[in-house]
């Protein structure tokens, strides 16, 4: 009787759970190996596409505000032609932290859909909150994204001016991290921000 026929899921499960009588373990393993590589490669290619400057400036929320500010800074244009793009500073390189950051970025997509910062006025009203989130993240990671390129040990006392060199060495001794002193290095500081020494 038709009524006794198992459902789709049950039949699917039975199919996958049944040992193969036709294919060798090696053949099955090989197929899974190749499919795994394709999946992993595709996943990472897609992920890297979301790390490009073009992707980040697709939305006007970034393109009309922080991107314009960044273009005036040394991280965009400098003597040696080395450029740090958005993801170099805002997305961790390490796999675990990168996945966490990307998962959290889904909230930014939600912000885009709901128009949270879709005008310059709304963006400015939230700039302090957004900047504080990012400063906290950088502080927690010991400014890892800065240190992917910059290191106290790589600073030359001969090439760096005496005063910043002295400050850097003092910061190193005191266990300070880059973002402690370099807030607003690539974007405007929020109007509510006050310097700790003020």
């Amino acid at each position: 009787m038709d009524d006794d026929k198992p459902g789709v899921f049950k039949r699917l499960w039975t199919f996958f759970a049944r040992p193969s009588a036709k294919y060798s373990v090696l053949a099955i393993a090989s197929v899974f190996f190749v499919v795994g590589i394709l999946f992993w490669g595709g996943f990472h290619t897609g992920l890297e596409m979301t790390n490009t400057l073009d992707f980040c400036t697709t939305c006007h929320e970034m393109r009309d505000t922080v991107y314009q500010e960044y273009k005036e800074t040394i991280h965009y244009s400098n003597r040696t032609g080395v450029r740090a793009i958005c993801s170099d500073c805002h997305v961790p390189r390490e796999w675990g932290p990168k996945m966490i950051r990307k998962a959290r970025a889904s909230l930014e997509v939600w912000g885009k859909i709901t128009g949270d910062i879709d005008t310059k006025e709304k963006f400015e009203a939230k700039r302090m909150t957004l900047a504080t989130h990012e400063w906290d993240r950088m502080k927690a990671s010991n400014s890892q994204e800065c240190r992917n390129c910059h290191a106290f040990d790589a600073m030359s006392s001969e090439l760096q001016k005496q005063t910043p060199y002295k400050k850097h060495m003092k910061a190193k001794e005191e266990g300070k991290t880059c973002i402690d002193c370099h807030k607003g290095i690539a974007h405007h500081l929020p109007k509510e921000y006050k310097d700790p020494d003020e």
């Binding site: 500010e69 005036e72 001016k161 005496q162 005063t163 400050k167 002193c181 370099h182 607003g184 405007h188 500081l189 109007k191 921000y193 006050k194 310097d195 020494d197 003020e198």
Partner: protein, 120 residues
């Protein structure tokens, strides 16, 4: 009783006083919040403070040094925009950081910052 100063002279004096007041008002008409924001953005306060000396002199000391000098503004503008050498207490000299504005090279923002420093 008639004034010893003639009418045309009086008119000229009053007009002169208005012009002088205008210049004085213009000299004091800096935007403090904008000046502080530019100082923060350029990390001026890493080396300077309004009240106390740090690696650089306090702004009060800078203002006192230039008080009464008519070319004070121009000298300070040159100092913070040209990379001119600054002399430190230990005797060494170092190029002063060039203050940057957004949009770039906005002379009005630089002048506003200098006017605020000179008013301390």
């Amino acid at each position: 009783m008639t004034s010893p100063i003639s009418l045309p002279k009086r008119v000229a004096m009053i007009a002169g006083a208005f012009v002088a007041c205008g210049f004085a008002a213009q000299a004091l008409a800096f935007d403090e919040e904008a000046a502080k924001a530019l100082a923060r953005q350029n990390k001026c306060l890493q080396c300077h403070s309004v009240e106390k000396d740090k690696d650089g002199p306090s702004y009060k000391k800078v203002a006192a040094k230039f008080r009464g000098k008519k070319d004070a503004e121009e000298k300070l503008i040159h100092h913070i925009t040209s990379g001119e050498k600054a002399k430190f207490e230990d005797g060494h000299e170092e190029e002063h950081k060039i203050v940057k504005t957004s949009p770039p090279n906005d002379a009005a923002q630089i002048r506003n910052l200098v006017q605020w420093v000179l008013a301390q």
